[in-house]
Symmetry: C2
Subunit: 199 residues, 2 copies
Amino acid sequence: MHPPIDFWFEFGSNYSYLSVMRIEALASRAQVALRWKPFLLGPIFRELGWQNSPFNEQKEKGEYVWRDMARRAAKYGVPFTRPSNFPRRALLPLRVALFGAEQPWMGEYCRRIMLRNWSQDAEIDNDETVLAALGGLVLDPAAVLHAAQGEDNKAALRAQTEEARRLGIFGAPSFMVQGELFWGDDRLEDALEYAQSLA
Amino acid sequence: MHPPIDFWFEFGSNYSYLSVMRIEALASRAQVALRWKPFLLGPIFRELGWQNSPFNEQKEKGEYVWRDMARRAAKYGVPFTRPSNFPRRALLPLRVALFGAEQPWMGEYCRRIMLRNWSQDAEIDNDETVLAALGGLVLDPAAVLHAAQGEDNKAALRAQTEEARRLGIFGAPSFMVQGELFWGDDRLEDALEYAQSLA
């Protein structure tokens, strides 16, 4: 058995979008177990001294990133529209993601939320979006939404974000395989190969 | 005929090291003409507001980068030792690189300088290193060293750095194919594929 891959991601993170769209199929093909690790990127960036996405703080890099995103999305066959608001708040959908992280609907839920942000250029941090994304995936979307907003689950998302910090994660997406950190959608294949190289 | 690939690099830049070691063979195989564009990263970073490498300015990312470098180098079969001094000054070898950019010895000269920095963990901004790197590649290394330090060539390196800035280049390595910018060693293959896609 290979060790699992831990997938640390944020719905507001553009390169996380590419990984959310790709990882379930790639991990399955590689026969590597996938563990979804949603977390809040904002507190991490603030601790690193940034008040905004580094892509917004550096003009040149910021402009480049959207070209790179368009090219990478095309390469992977993933739809992409440059969002009119970046980075988008994602607290509520992240709470639901944490709540559902081990559920069979997790992958499809995450892809739906991501497509709304990165393909439909729409806000995601609201009840309607989350309920729509859960539609057809769970019997009672409203009950899931309610549970995700419980104090325990809110605290669990904060704790997961602190765990990311403790692990040395400084951006998203990040992949952790038996203590080895890989950062960026363009390291996803490397992370899976590393997991495959371990017994 | 495909358009050429312009390769913007710095001897002090770690990811430039990987590209210098890989690009000549990859471009040749892709039948894409390669144009070497050495430039000074220091002035670019200072204009972006950094006094040092961003890898030194951000502790978490800095630590990660050396793990990533070791893994990438192993993946490519390129030797790598984490340098005890980073980033290393590279003004003199860059002047020689600019002087020789269109010479047949350019690729091998650059690889030798890079190996000294990133495999042998040695300083590179001195006469001895540059003369040794030119040894066997040119008839008269001392004459090349002298010419590279002429006022014209010094001014040309400053001008090339300003050209990088004008093109929107904010880091190294960068690849430019008919106005399309690709940033990072991990985009080298994409840049070559893009060149191949153009008539």
